[in-house]
């Protein structure tokens, strides 16, 4: 579903990704682990198309299309979801309005009809309930006044409503207590597990992987994948540290 | 509670005044060394001739004088300025022989106490008080050298730094002076700057050559105490490419002058990658508790950050003068140039201060920071007035302004007048301002730990002003901290 081939990228002229290659087939969940500064967040932003993250070489193919040629919103319409490490606050815009307008924009791009107000509210309420979140939270401005954990859960609600084909989840486990971690883990499994879906979990720690069992684990260091393996690699990293393994 | 203030600083000033008026007794034979009273073209010619100036400078002065005649005094500041009779004043006097006393024991005990509170070393006290033969001793004591002037000059010469009075510089380096004089503050900039251009008495000229880091902090301290630079001081600092200089102006000791009107001009010209740090402690006589007397301090200070990545930083601690009108500013013309303004202004009794800065962003990626702390006490008025302007061609400008006022007592005023004018969408401008009174909780807390009220106020006020004080060179900062406390004594309670 996602094929990254020899990807090079710079931020403010500084090389961060240095020939990263990675393939995530449909139906699989992969984890990328690595020390701080390895380029984990850069990878997620490059995949999302964030301005300022410049691709200087390599290709990324997403469901047969050239991902890098697409604008951020086109990537979303194509089925890519980026879970932000630091979800952005947008004062004055309610989450409800934000998600609904975004979802309908995606649907229109795919040639589908808009969801009506009633349909959307039903969907939002159901998805919020899965996270144990009061739907009233979604009436508040996007991420404003949310705690770190609430922001991450709100990201999962968005993901549940949008049902992407592929999710890149950047440090989704950071800022979560153990109960929230279990809930978020269950949500990732519920929303992203399926024969025509896939996900890439970007994380520093192994603990999210207790709840979302990855099919493959990759170690990122200095902008490239230096090791890949099964779920046992995550445990080994936890035990031995990055210096030993990578 | 403000009527019965014991304003030690004021008392010291008054004591100093008494000394000057009676015991030091300026006599009438000084008259012969003065220009005739009043201001006209002849006065300007007289000044220029007395200083032996070249023709071009006389012409420059005359041009300024003629322009000044057509201009009006500024009226937009939040200041109540009594009418000034410009014809009822002397515009030139030969540097006066300072009256001397035999030893510090003869000094008024009040002044002595103030000096001690400020922590001014004994030898410097002698210089300030005009003790006979003190200068050389002070110099020796402070710098452990037989002749500081010589040592200074040698070291600066070796580095290629020019540090002269403006009068000397006009003779020794006429081309340099001519090139930059008036290049940052044009003659017609404002009424007071124009007056200064016509009749400036003396001042300082500094030139730092390309790539030179000035080997010492340059200070007007010694010269100001050595000779009377007069009421129309003119300072010109030129920092060539990649150079650095830190310049200190003023003195924390109470300064007095029989000239009520002071209209100084300071121009700084910074070339590519040059950095100038300009620190001021201003403690001119503020007048008595009823607002009688005191200096009118109308100063025009401006820096031209002409070269790419040049940087000028203004830091000021303003505690003196009856009226202060002063806006040290930066024209940020070079791409990536940086302007900073850090200010503490204290007003007490009947003092009035209208001070702030202008940051004019012309170049791309220019940045400015403004931190202003105003402290009002007694029946004073303290105004921050500032302008942040971003021109259409200035891309990616950043400005941050923090502007806080502290009120001590309910008979004073604290005002904030910031102008923000932005003509480029890529600018990021942030401005914050707060007004508060001194916290009774903080006062009580500090006092419950054993500080008396004055010490507690000084502590809190210094905390309030900390961001600015920490910009000062170390030895200056210590004195400035003490000065804040002294300036506010008796204002709470």
């Amino acid at each position: 579903m996602l094929e990254i081939n020899n990807l090079h990228a710079t931020v403010a002229g500084k090389p961060i990704l240095n020939g990263l290659s990675l393939t995530v087939p449909a139906g699989e969940v992969h984890a990328i682990m690595g020390p701080n500064g390895a380029g984990k967040s850069t990878l997620s932003y490059v995949l999302g198309g964030r301005p300022g993250y410049e691709v200087t070489g390599g290709t990324v193919t997403f469901i047969g299309e050239d991902l890098l040629a697409q604008e951020p919103h086109e990537r979303a319409a194509a089925g890519l979801f980026l879970g932000f490490q630091y979800p952005v606050e947008i004062p004055g815009v309610s989450s409800m309005q934000f998600i609904r307008e975004s979802l309908n924009a995606q649907r229109r791009a795919r040639g589908q009809a808009d969801l009506s107000g009633a349909e959307f509210i039903r969907l939002a309420r159901a998805e919020a309930a899965e996270l144990g979140m009061d739907v009233d939270m979604l009436k508040r401005p996007v991420n404003v006044g949310f705690s770190g954990g609430e922001k991450k859960r709100a990201e999962m609600v968005q993901m549940g409503i949008m049902r992407p084909r592929f999710a890149v989840l950047d440090e989704t486990d950071s800022g979560l207590d153990i109960d929230a971690l279990r809930v978020v883990g269950a949500e990732i499994n519920r929303i992203m597990r399926g024969p025509d879906r896939a996900a890439l979990l970007i994380t520093h720690y192994q603990r999210l992987l207790d709840y979302v069992q990855p099919d493959r684990v990759h170690v990122l260091a200095a902008g490239r994948i230096v090791r890949s393996g099964g779920p046992e690699l995550a445990l080994e990293l936890e035990r031995e540290g990055y210096a030993e393994v990578a | 509670m403000t009527d019965d203030v014991t304003f030690k600083n004021r008392e010291a000033h008054e004591a100093a005044e008494k000394l000057a008026t009676y015991e030091w007794g300026f006599t009438s034979d000084i008259e012969s060394e003065r220009a005739p009273k009043g201001l006209n073209e002849d006065t300007v010619r007289y000044i220029s001739a007395k200083k032996g100036e070249p023709e071009w400078l006389l012409e420059w002065r005359l041009k300024a004088y003629r322009a000044w005649l057509t201009m009006e005094e500024v009226d937009w500041a939040k200041l109540d300025i009594p009418a000034i009779d410009y014809q009822d004043a002397y515009y030139y006097a030969e540097p006066k022989q300072k009256p001397t006393i035999a030893s510090l024991d003869e000094l008024d005990p009040e002044i002595r106490r103030t000096y001690e509170k400020l922590g001014i070393p004994i030898e410097e006290q002698k210089v300030l008080a005009g003790v006979e033969g003190a200068r050389k001793v002070a110099v020796d004591a402070v710098f452990d050298s037989v002749s500081v002037a010589t040592t200074f000059r040698e070291e600066l010469n070796k580095a290629g730094v020019i540090f002269r009075s403006i009068s000397e510089a006009v003779k020794e380096f006429p081309d340099l002076v001519r090139k930059y004089l008036g290049s940052v503050v044009p003659q017609r900039d404002n009424y007071f700057a124009c007056l200064n251009s016509a009749v400036f008495s003396d001042g300082t000229f500094v030139y730092i050559p390309e790539g030179v880091r000035c080997p010492m902090e340059l200070s007007t301290y010694f010269r100001i105490n050595a000779e009377n630079t007069g009421q129309f001081e003119r300072t010109l600092i030129v920092a060539d490419k990649g150079s650095y200089v830190s310049y200190l102006e003023g003195c924390t000791a109470p300064m007095r002058d029989e000239n009520q009107l002071h209209a100084a001009v300071v121009e700084i010209f910074a070339h590519e990658d040059a950095e100038v740090k300009y620190s001021t402690v201003q403690n001119w006589y503020p007048g008595n508790a009823e607002g009688v007397g005191g200096i009118y301090n109308f100063v025009t200070k401006r820096a031209m950050c002409s070269g790419a990545r040049s940087k000028v930083s203004w830091t000021q601690v303003e505690t003196g003068s009856a009226i202060t009108w002063k806006y040290p500013s930066c024209i940020l013309k070079g791409d990536g140039s940086v302007g900073e303004f850090y200010s503490v202004a204290v007003t007490n009794n009947r003092q009035q201060a209208d001070t702030g800065t202008k940051m004019v962003h012309i170049g791309a990626n220019t940045r400015s920071t403004i931190v202003s702390k105003g402290i009002s006490a007694g029946r004073s008025d303290n105004t921050y007035r500032g302008l942040v302007k971003v021109l259409p061609g200035a891309e990616n400008v950043r400005n941050f302004t923090q502007c806080d006022s502290l009120l001590l007592g309910d008979q004073c005023g604290a005002h904030t007048v910031p102008y923000i004018e932005v003509k480029n969408p890529t600018a990021t401008i942030e401005h914050e301002a707060t007004t508060s009174k001194i916290s009774e909780d903080q006062l009580f807390y500090a006092m419950s730990r054993g500080l008396d009220q004055e010490a507690a106020v000084a502590l809190i006020v210094n905390g309030f002003a900390r961001e600015v004080l920490k910009q000062l060179p170390m030895e200056f900062a210590v004195e400035a901290q003490k000065l804040l406390g002294i300036s506010l004594e008796g204002s709470v309670g």
């Binding site: 964030r50 951020p72 004062p91 | 009120l407 102008y419 923000i420």
Partner: protein
């Protein structure tokens, strides 16, 4: 009829005004509207100034002890819009202003306030948002004055301007004149463009750039009307949307 001479740029309250446009309506300008909110009452007013090419609205407001006034003002005149008010806030009274300049083309819009706290325990809150496109100019000149006897006053100003195009100008002058010591007065002002991080976040959720921009601008402005009187809120929202569409286009 106004007997006064046309102001000039030297008049502080008119330093950013479009004096040509003002000159055309000056002679016919109505006297400032007088509004007195009686003691203890709570009033709301809506001023929607977006119908004529030139709109100049002036008001003198007195909020009597214990009363409150919520004012919602949308400045959207296509050529010159000026909303000017002198507000006296008496003991324990409260004044809230929520106002927007939405200007495009060559328009000049300004909101000029003088809020005078003459007695203790008053509160004033002014929130002004400007969205400026084309070569438009949007200004806020706001002065909060606290008299000597007006202790325990709380005066806030929040001013934010967003510049959409090269050539647009934002001016603001949030002024404080404080003569009482036990007060809480603060202001914050920012000028900038749309936050690129917010823009990317919205786009990463599927919104095309123009829609993402429109949504963020609405968020920037429409929260001003959250507490507007129910019967006028929709009108304010719709008028703001229409103006934003025009300005952001």
């Amino acid at each position: 009829m106004t007997a006064l001479a046309l102001p000039t740029r030297k008049d502080e309250a008119y330093r950013y005004a479009d004096l040509d446009a003002l000159g055309r309506v000056w002679a016919d300008l109505a006297q400032a509207r007088e509004i007195v909110v009686p003691a203890g009452e709570a009033h709301s007013h809506v001023l929607l100034a977006a119908n004529e090419a030139v709109e100049v609205h002036r008001a003198r407001l007195v909020i009597q002890p214990g009363a409150s006034l919520d004012l919602f003002a949308l400045n959207g005149a296509a050529e010159y819009g000026r909303i000017e008010m002198d507000v006296e806030v008496r003991e324990g009274a409260r004044f809230t202003l929520n106002a927007a300049n939405i200007a495009g083309g060559k328009a000049t819009q300004e909101i000029v306030t003088h809020v005078r706290h003459t007695e203790p325990n008053g509160t004033s809150n002014q929130t002004v948002r400007s969205v400026l496109g084309g070569t438009a100019t949007g200004s806020y000149l706001g002065k909060v004055a606290v008299a000597r006897q007006a202790q325990k006053v709380d005066g806030e100003q929040s001013v934010k301007a967003m510049l959409l195009d090269r050539g647009a100008t934002a001016n603001c002058k949030p002024e404080l004149e404080i003569y009482a010591d036990d007060v809480k007065c603060a202001h914050g002002a920012t000028v900038g463009e749309l936050d690129p991080t917010q823009l990317f976040y919205a786009m990463s959720r599927g919104l095309p750039p123009a829609e993402a921009k429109a949504l963020l601008l609405e968020g920037f402005v429409l929260q001003l009307w959250d507490d507007a009187p129910e019967d006028r809120r929709d009108e304010l929202v719709e008028a703001s949307r229409a103006l934003l569409r025009r300005v952001a286009a």
